[in-house]
């Protein structure tokens, strides 16, 4: 499908990231990214900071390297005081540098941006390798006990949607189980050496209360490991496609039926169960809806980013046949999630110039009031008038307050 190129009103830095998030599909887009990356007015500090905010650093690195732009990247930027100040803002990179140094890896501190990006990409690839091994370890333990589950999000997508290039960033490894297996799974995870993440949290009691009040997930689990650059592996286990008492949900038991076996790159004969495409799409979209629609994620600075939309765009691109037959619409209507899906796809189309609403025949669906709302707490919604594009680009989303008081709603 030919897509219009994004407008550049938010600057070349943002345009580059929008293009990368939705995926480069033809020569005109390749050329546009190249032109933008080599434009004299490009602000590298802004580009790198936004790439970090949206978990796109490895993807940007890959793009620059694969486009042979090494000598087009300005090598003197690091000499400027401004860039030194910018470096301090890239907290993840500071943390990364610390991890690498404390792991006694003989990586030199990059002396220019190209080297910096290269090491970020390589580190991401290494982390994915470690995550793959841990995923298989947990998956085998759950399978051995006959517990139904699937692996979701980054680990499921990095090989199927991102071609195992090491460009899909992951914070953790995600699984989905049914609510009835929560206790059994917790026991398995403890046997594997995982403990609730409260133990490492700055405020353990806050984490614990928050986790108990939101039983759509097990408490976040972590295990200390001894791998260069990686000290802790986090695992997030959900038992709902959305959230506790959500008015929009698909039964997890149904979604877990007939999973597909997905190979793990580099591990011959090893497969992990993942959602079949229709439920993979529904989960991904509804999960994005959760992070974008619930006010608490905005206030905690953990709401939706470019890459979450990138996942949806790629899922649609690669599964068009399976998503455009009548089964998807029937499932959405059966469970009353059509408006929530339309919410995501309409914001996505407006932001990325995609045509998902039309492709999935959802033009007649979607609720205008819902589209311009956010949920504050169960049963209460706020009006929300921002554009998704402006919201994604904003660096101070948490400070944006609703335009009207909460009222009872969906």
């Amino acid at each position: 499908m030919t897509r219009s190129l994004p407008d550049q009103s938010l600057g070349p830095e943002w345009t580059i990231l929008e293009l990368l998030a939705r995926g480069i599909i033809d020569d005109s887009e390749v050329q546009m990214v190249r032109d933008l990356l080599t434009t004299d007015t490009l602000k590298w500090g802004e580009l790198l900071e936004q790439a970090l905010r949206h978990k796109m650093f490895p993807m940007l690195a890959h793009q620059i390297m694969s486009a042979s732009l090494r000598f087009d990247v300005p090598t003197n930027i690091y000499m400027h005081l401004e860039s030194a100040l910018e470096w301090n803002r890239w907290q993840i990179e500071v943390m990364l540098a610390h991890q690498i140094m404390s792991a006694s890896l003989r990586f030199d501190v990059p002396t220019n941006i190209y080297m910096h990006l290269e090491s970020a990409l390589e580190w991401n690839r290494w982390q994915i390798e470690v995550f793959r091994r841990e995923t298989v370890r947990v998956a085998q333990a759950l399978a051995d006990r006959g517990i139904p589950f699937v692996v979701t999000k980054g680990m499921a997508f990095e090989s199927t949607l991102y071609d195992s290039l090491g460009t899909r960033y992951m914070n953790d490894i995600d699984f989905m189980i049914t609510p009835r297996d929560r206790d059994k799974v917790m026991t398995v995870m403890q046997e594997l050496g995982f403990r609730p993440f409260f133990d490492w949290a700055k405020d353990a009691r806050r984490e614990e209360i928050s986790s108990r009040l939101n039983p759509d997930h097990l408490p976040k689990l972590a295990r200390e490991i001894d791998q260069p650059g990686i000290r802790l592996i986090d695992i997030d286990i959900a038992n709902s496609l959305t959230w506790t008492k959500s008015p929009f949900d698909v039964p997890v038991e149904e979604a877990l039926e007939n999973p597909v076996e997905q190979p793990i790159p580099g591990m011959s004969g090893v497969n992990i169960p993942c959602f079949r495409p229709i439920y993979q799409f529904l989960f991904t979209v509804l999960h994005l809806f959760r992070e974008a629609w619930l006010q608490k994620f905005v206030e905690s600075g953990t709401d939706v980013g470019l890459m979450k939309f990138g996942d949806v765009i790629r899922l649609i691109d690669r599964n068009q046949n399976k998503l455009t037959d009548s089964e998807l619409l029937r499932i959405m209507q059966t469970h009353g999630v059509t408006d929530a899906v339309a919410w995501v796809l309409r914001h996505m189309d407006e932001t990325f110039h995609t045509h998902a609403v039309e492709l999935l025949a959802l033009e007649k669906h979607g609720n205008e009031k819902l589209l311009r709302s956010q949920m504050r707490s169960p049963g209460y919604v706020n009006a929300w008038s921002e554009s998704m594009r402006g919201r994604l680009q904003s660096k101070s989303r948490g400070s944006v307050r609703p335009v009207a008081p909460a009222h009872r709603g969906s």
Binding site: R205, R206, I209, S210, R212, L213, N214, K245, L294, Q295, K296, E299, S300, R376, S377, P378, G379, Y380, A406
Partner: protein, 84 residues
């Protein structure tokens, strides 16, 4: 047991914007006074600190803090349990 009303209401007012200028209606849902999922955590933590209690896991559910009245009952119950 001492009357906890003053301390209890001060605690709510520290977190709920809509509770600040007005008398607290103990029957109204706290979400109408500005409670959301993040302030709920903050309110419960503040109650624990203020009254030296700890909400057990089975009380960490929405019903415990649906209204100011319900929450006050829970706090009083935990204080009594602790005292006995």
């Amino acid at each position: 047991m001492d009357d906890i009303t003053t301390q209890f209401e001060e605690c709510l007012r520290r977190h709920l914007r809509s509770a600040k200028p007005n008398p607290i209606n103990y029957d109204v849902e706290l979400v109408q006074l500005g409670l959301d999922s993040m302030t709920a955590v903050a309110v419960l933590m503040d109650m624990e600190k203020t009254f030296g209690i700890r909400f057990p896991d089975d009380m960490l559910v929405e019903g415990t803090f649906r209204t100011a009245g319900r929450l006050k009952e829970a706090v009083q119950l935990l204080r009594e349990r602790q005292a006995s």
